[in-house]
């Protein structure tokens, strides 16, 4: 594989920078061989070829002090650093750098669980800590606390929360339950936010807002600093937990499902965010596609219907849970059940009603009480490894959900992909999750997936449904859809970027935010320069 260098950098000068970086982290923690060591830093699941975004090197810092020393070198040599923590985020680019030639700053070695406070129910972790790791730690210690994890349990707390990720317990809006950020700025200075900024503070991770502007949000999905620690609230294990599933027979039931869920969710009768999952999604995580359809064309409707029958699922499947005590659940469960069964053909399932080998029930039941697993990642198998996710945000209403569902269906059909989708009924708004599964080994599929992606983003924006996240390839495109007030938001981000990172070394291009000093031809040029 070709070796890349940071944009515009002379190889000899770069080699000198590498030597200095090796002195900081040790030679064994600077990875340079693109054919071996750098392979796991590539994204093999997006619509672009695997060698589309290749770092020049990867540097694995183990402490705040090492990050500060790396920043000193990066400023001196103008090295663009692309930092990742746990390094997952597949479907959005994985650990890949924005442009070939960037230096990947890998923080996985910073994997300490700094504190778990059982009484006040929070944890403080470094960027490399995964859900599996924190879960196991809590189990070993015997704390009566739940974590809230992403569906693939190998994800990281800091990365997921700061990428606006969601989970499945009542603490599912991960950034809402984040409390206190430690961040290293481009100039090497270290900042702690909110009450954590006070010497001797007794409340660094239990009060989100201290004195002055609330700045934590500024470090999500951005490139204004490198997060090195963060606190997260954990849910005390409730005395009672009641997962449920409702199934529905018809596509058009979506409208009524959403109308029923809105008041139940906004009024917190249902404490977590119910998943309104299309049957195609429910089936794709538990079947080999080829067992049902060996063509590369979309699976025909009669075949899907057969799968719904085989797995005993509906066209729509609503997974949720109640939490509290037996007494409180005895009050709310009849309300929930009556409301969600009011649609003709609806069926209700409780714990014990599903077969022991029901994959979807089993993994969702675990996720809704914070037990990490990887079952849902099976959707990656569906297309052949490739998958891109989209997250249009729509108001919680039957009409908006139906509009989004139907308009996106047309785009998937146009480009010839299975329409795998679900709604996360988060309250006032719902996340319309779209999974575009394809075979990345097939050039035609990759190209169609790329065109399909762009159309999804633009159509969602036309409807007023902004994306919550974006793959590296579409960051500029999505940023461009948040453009009112004469691009007011982008201009503010630019001002912040120029002030906080004047050297333009932190994750250039993240969320469409580039250093203003960079020549235009160096922005959005993933292939960079190499030999």
């Amino acid at each position: 594989m070709k070796r890349y260098y940071p944009q515009g950098m002379d190889p000899a000068r770069f080699d000198q920078a590498v030597k200095e970086l090796q002195q900081v982290v040790g030679e064994e923690w600077v990875f340079m061989d693109a054919d071996t060591e750098l392979q796991p830093y590539l994204d093999r699941m997006s619509a672009k070829p695997i060698d589309y975004r290749v770092p020049s090197i990867a540097v694995a810092a183990a402490s705040v002090e090492e990050i500060q020393a790396v920043l000193t070198i990066a400023r001196a040599y103008s090295l663009p650093l692309w930092s990742t923590g746990n390094g997952r985020n597949f479907a959005y680019g994985g650990p890949a750098v924005m442009q070939s030639g960037y230096v990947h700053l890998d923080l996985k070695r910073m994997n300490r669980i700094i504190e778990v406070n059982e009484d006040l129910a929070y944890a403080v972790v470094e960027p490399g800590v995964s859900y599996y790791q924190l879960y196991q730690h809590i189990q070993e210690k015997g704390y009566k606390l739940w974590i809230d994890c992403a569906a693939p349990g190998w994800g990281g707390l800091i990365g997921n929360a700061h990428e606006h990720g969601a989970g499945y317990t009542p603490y599912g809006d991960h950034f809402t339950f984040q409390n206190g950020t430690e961040v290293v700025l481009s100039d090497g200075s270290v900042v702690r936010t909110g009450p954590w900024a006070m010497n001797g503070s007794k409340t660094p991770h239990i009060v989100k807002y201290g004195y002055g502007p609330y700045l934590d949000g500024m470090f999500t999905q951005g490139n204004f600093g490198i997060i090195t620690k963060a606190g997260f609230w954990l849910m005390p294990e409730p005395p009672a937990y009641k997962p449920f599933l409702f199934t529905y027979e018809r596509d058009e039931d979506l409208h009524q499902i959403m109308e029923i869920l809105r008041p139940l969710k906004i009024n917190q009768v249902i404490p977590n965010s119910p998943l309104v999952e299309h049957g195609r999604y429910t089936c794709c995580v538990q079947a080999n596609r080829e067992d049902y359809w060996t063509e590369r064309t979309p699976v025909p409707e009669p075949v899907w219907q057969q799968m719904y029958k085989d797995f005993d699922v509906g066209a729509w499947n609503v997974y949720g849970a109640l939490y509290g005590t037996d007494e409180t659940i005895a009050i709310t469960w009849p309300m929930v059940k009556q409301a969600l069964l009011s649609i003709p053909g609806a069926r209700a399932f409780e714990q014990g009603d599903r077969p022991d080998n029901d994959v979807s029930w089993n993994y969702r039941e675990k996720l809704m009480r914070g037990e990490p697993n990887m079952s849902e990642f099976a959707m990656v198998n569906w297309g052949g490894g490739g998958h891109l996710n989209f997250t249009p945000l729509t108001p919680s209403s039957g009409a908006h959900a139906t509009t989004s569902y139907e308009n996106m269906a047309k785009i998937f059909e146009k480009y010839g992909f299975d329409y795998l989708t679900e709604f996360v009924a988060a309250g006032r708004a719902q996340i319309h999750m779209l999974i575009l599964a394809f075979d990345p080994r097939d050039e035609d599929e990759r190209q169609r997936a790329d065109a399909c992606s762009r159309e999804i983003i633009l159509e969602a924006a036309r409807l007023g449904f902004g994306e919550l996240k974006a793959n590296l390839e579409y960051m500029d495109l999505v940023a461009g859809t948040y453009n009112n007030m004469d691009n007011g938001l982008a201009k503010l981000n630019q001002k912040l970027k120029d002030i906080l990172d004047p050297a333009g070394i932190l994750s250039p291009g993240k969320s469409g935010i580039w250093p203003s000093g960079w020549p235009e031809d160096q922005k959005g040029n993933p292939q960079g320069n190499g030999d």
Binding site: W29, F31, T36, E37, Q39, P40, Y41, L42, R44, M45, A58, A60, G87, F90, G94, P95, D106, K108, R109, G128, S130, Y132, Q133, Q136, P152, G153, W154, Q286, N288, E290, D291, N357, V359, N362, Y363, P372, N373, M374, S375, F377, A378, V380, N381, G384, G385
Partner: protein, 124 residues
């Protein structure tokens, strides 16, 4: 009911004692570490149980149900496992040295290739 993991731990302790008496306690510690590596990075996709584990599900189709779970498979050579873990393959991603170090990978490979305990063995 005895949980499978507890059964496995009991078996592993036995296996480690055997190894400790032969090639040293260091090896035993490495295998214990390998169990952790397996739990954090592999088990979620590759544990036995075709339905719930994406890797096992996929291999049940591309290979066979008998070869779907990778633990205990002697046909997976160390060279092959080394390559797949680092480089990824089809639906599987590669793992960085910051996640699984070279030493941890070697221990993991030994662990994967160890014969899988049956429930009966575990209860002895």
């Amino acid at each position: 009911m005895v949980r499978p993991r507890l059964i496995f731990r009991a078996w592993l302790t036995g296996a480690m004692l055997l190894i400790a008496s032969g090639s040293g306690a260091g090896e035993a510690r490495k295998l214990e570490g390998a169990e952790r590596t397996w739990a954090f990075y592999c088990e979620g996709c590759h544990a036995a149980g075709i339905e719930e584990h994406p890797g096992t599900l996929r291999l049940s189709y591309t290979r066979s149900p008998e070869l779907a779970a990778i633990r205990g498979r002697q046909d997976l050579t160390p060279e092959y496992l080394r390559q797949i873990v680092r480089m990824g393959y089809l639906e599987m991603v590669g793992f960085r040295k910051t996640e699984i170090s070279d030493d941890e990978l070697e221990a993991l490979i030994k662990f994967i290739r160890l014969p899988v305990p049956t429930q009966a063995q575990g209860e002895k």
